[in-house]
Amino acid sequence: MQFAFDDRQVEFRAQLRALAEKECTPADLRAAWESAPGWSADRWRALGDMGILAVTVPEAQGGLGLGFVDLVLLLEEAGRSGLPEPVVETVAVAAPLFAALGTDASGRWLEGIASGEVAVGVAAPPGAPEGPGGPVLVNAGGALLVLPSAGGALHVVETTGAGSAGLALEPKRSVDGARHLVEVGGEPPAETEVAAAGPGLELWRRACDRGAWGTAAVLLGVADRLVGFGAEHAKARVQFGKPIGSFQAVKHHLAGALVRLEFARPLVYAAAWALDEGDEEAPRLVSMAKSAASDAASVAASVALQVHGAIGYTWEHDLHLWMKRAWALGAAWGDAGWHRARLLGQISW
């Protein structure tokens, strides 16, 4: 038993943090809110250069050939810095899927991912019972779109505009302005199928697990940032002649949020390890991780807002950039309740 990260993994996170501090300031985030597709090709390439996009790409396709334990601190950092790019969809969901396909096309896609040229969006099928991000939504703008057909076959569509491969791609706005969603209409054509109904559905289910897990990791960072916002404000803001952080109500709000976060974290890390190992407990751990992380981020958002008071209720203050992310990602890929129902066997992807 060794439940810790090695120096290389910790160092990798530090690199991403350094990059994000330069390339993903709150001003950059606000720019992402204002423009479609909401993320920056330059920053995407910079992410490629520092290696995060290549983590799960096999070495044969120019990747690092690493796993989810190597990835998890990076995703957490992506949440902390508010990175608007579809890192989870590309690195956690798509790259392992493409690697499993092992076709010429998937090899090319993997090379594109590793080099920072390709980003991926993922859409759930219209018939999905309670899927990731609504039946027909995708965190998109990517050059590739992964989606299952209503029948359960798996498709990868190279998107070229609003009507790629016969699919209607209609932009949708989220309360989290950095999430530029697309509603997918129509059925993908036969020539985009990458796996037939049976194996396709199995691949899809595992992809959903990775999507939920990756989003849980991002939510840890989001929650961490929100608690940080709250603590900083509580130290700085003076009322009744002292910092409001000296009032017990404020202390207990923030301490409660921190406790939820600190106990969500090990579940997300353990799920990463189980996914790497192909452990049969992995789906259970993913659901525990996502439900705990969604709740932790939700509590952190509420507490941070309440501690800030009116200033936190403004568009000018950066708090809402993370608060709305906590709401949106908390519900995406199954909200806390969905994953708890899954844990009891009431529901599945």
């Binding site: 609504g134 939504l137 529901i347």
Partner: protein, 390 residues
């Protein structure tokens, strides 16, 4: 005990329901109105206030001479129930009508009442509040904006913030420190200030939905005559507390808002059960709890109203109300968003939050404004339970 409304109230209910049915702006009938936190929407809502005023629905509980119907508390509650049932627009004049007017009735001179109440009721003059300052939020008594005597007038300097409706309002009511030697709650005066007075500068502040629901207001040598002082000079705190009591208590927060929202929640739950039975089963308890809390607030209001009509006062109970309605409102909207699941995050085609998300954003402010719930719980503990101050 008799929990039936009287025949007069039932007549009023029918009359109000019929009128609202015919006049509330809906799709195909000049509505729904644009958000009142935009310039366009503010004007549209002002027109709606005028429409209500002309049919004498704007201020049912006021005396007839100011545009009301001489209605009692229960008349007002019945009207509010119908108003929310009709899903009529948010009242752009509510700061004036529900917060300032009770204070004017109690402390205003006859001249002040004649001057300010009718245009307030008609929507001609929309009021915003000037309580908070950058360093005086929860600690409201830390107000530093000053009112100095010069000639026979007052001169205001300083800054107010979080002025709801401040971006587009015509008048502001608020507290200024008139005696710099006095501390905290003493030496404050309650002023009525036109927003177009020389020296007043408004900086709109965008709120969570991106629109300018509130504003900062700067005062730079703004001259105000004695006629615009409400109540006695230097006794503004006592005057303001009456208004704060209205804000936190019975007047502003009509229970109909919550019972109406709870009814919509039940309908949403029923629809959810068809497509997402597991989700609906999980949230059934929360939906029912929302209904119970909304009804609890309604009956509690009836009890309070009965007591007030018998000569009782609201007092520290207003703080219990505030905690309860703000938590109820949040719980209703959180449950609705959970019922919507992954669709909850979506904006509509104009990029505006749809009804439940919009209501949630509004509800989020509940535990913060009009005295944070932390402050209210202190009040409940100290004034109702008698616990010692820190």
């Amino acid at each position: 005990m008799d929990l039936r409304f009287g025949p007069d109230q039932e007549r009023l209910r029918v009359e109000a329901r019929d009128w609202l049915e015919a006049h509330v702006p809906r799709a195909g009938n000049g509505g729904p109105l644009p958000s009142l936190d935009t310039a366009e929407g503010f004007d549209a809502h002002r027109v709606w206030e005028r429409t209500m005023f002309e049919a004498r629905w704007a201020v049912v509980s006021w005396p007839e001479r100011y545009g009301g119907r001489d209605g009692g508390l229960f008349d007002w509650l019945v009207f509010e129930e119908e108003y929310y049932r009709a899903q009529a627009p948010t009242r752009v004049g509510q700061n004036g009508i529900f917060l300032l007017a009770p204070t004017l009735f109690e402390f205003g001179t006859e001249e002040q009442k004649d001057r300010y109440l009718p245009p307030m009721a008609s929507g001609e003059e929309i009021w915003c509040q000037g309580w908070s300052e950058p360093d005086a939020g929860s600690d409201l008594a830390a107000i530093r904006s000053r009112a100095d005597r010069r000639g026979g007038d007052w001169v205001l300097n300083g800054q107010k913030t979080w002025c709801s409706r401040g971006a587009f309002a015509d008048w502001l009511f608020g507290l200024f420190r008139s005696d710099p030697a006095a501390e905290r709650h003493r030496g404050l005066t309650y002023f009525l200030v036109p927003m177009d007075a020389p020296g007043v500068t408004v900086r709109p502040i965008a709120q969570l939905d991106g629109e300018t629901g509130f504003a900062e207001v700067f005062f730079d040598d703004v001259v105000v005559p004695d006629a615009q002082v409400l109540g006695e000079a230097h006794r503004g705190w006592e005057v303001a507390m009456a208004t704060a009591g209205s804000e936190r208590g019975l007047s502003l927060r009509s229970p109909a808002r919550y019972t109406e929202a709870a009814a919509r929640l039940v309908a949403l739950h029923r629809r959810c059960a068809e497509r997402h039975p597991v989700r609906a089963a999980r949230l059934a308890d929360a939906v029912a709890k929302a209904v119970v809390d909304a009804e609890a607030y309604r009956y509690h209001t009836y009890m309070t109203a009965t007591r007030v009509l018998a000569g009782g006062s609201v007092g520290a109970e207003a703080s219990m109300n505030k905690v309860f309605w703000s938590e109820t409102d949040l719980a209703i909207h959180r449950t609705a968003l959970e019922l919507l699941g992954p669709e909850a995050e979506l904006l509509d085609d104009e990029g505006r939050p749809p009804a439940w998300l919009d209501g949630y954003l509004f509800a989020l402010a509940g535990p913060i404004y009009a005295g944070t719930n932390e402050i209210q719980r202190n009040v409940v503990a100290e004034r109702v339970l008698g616990l010692p101050r820190a």
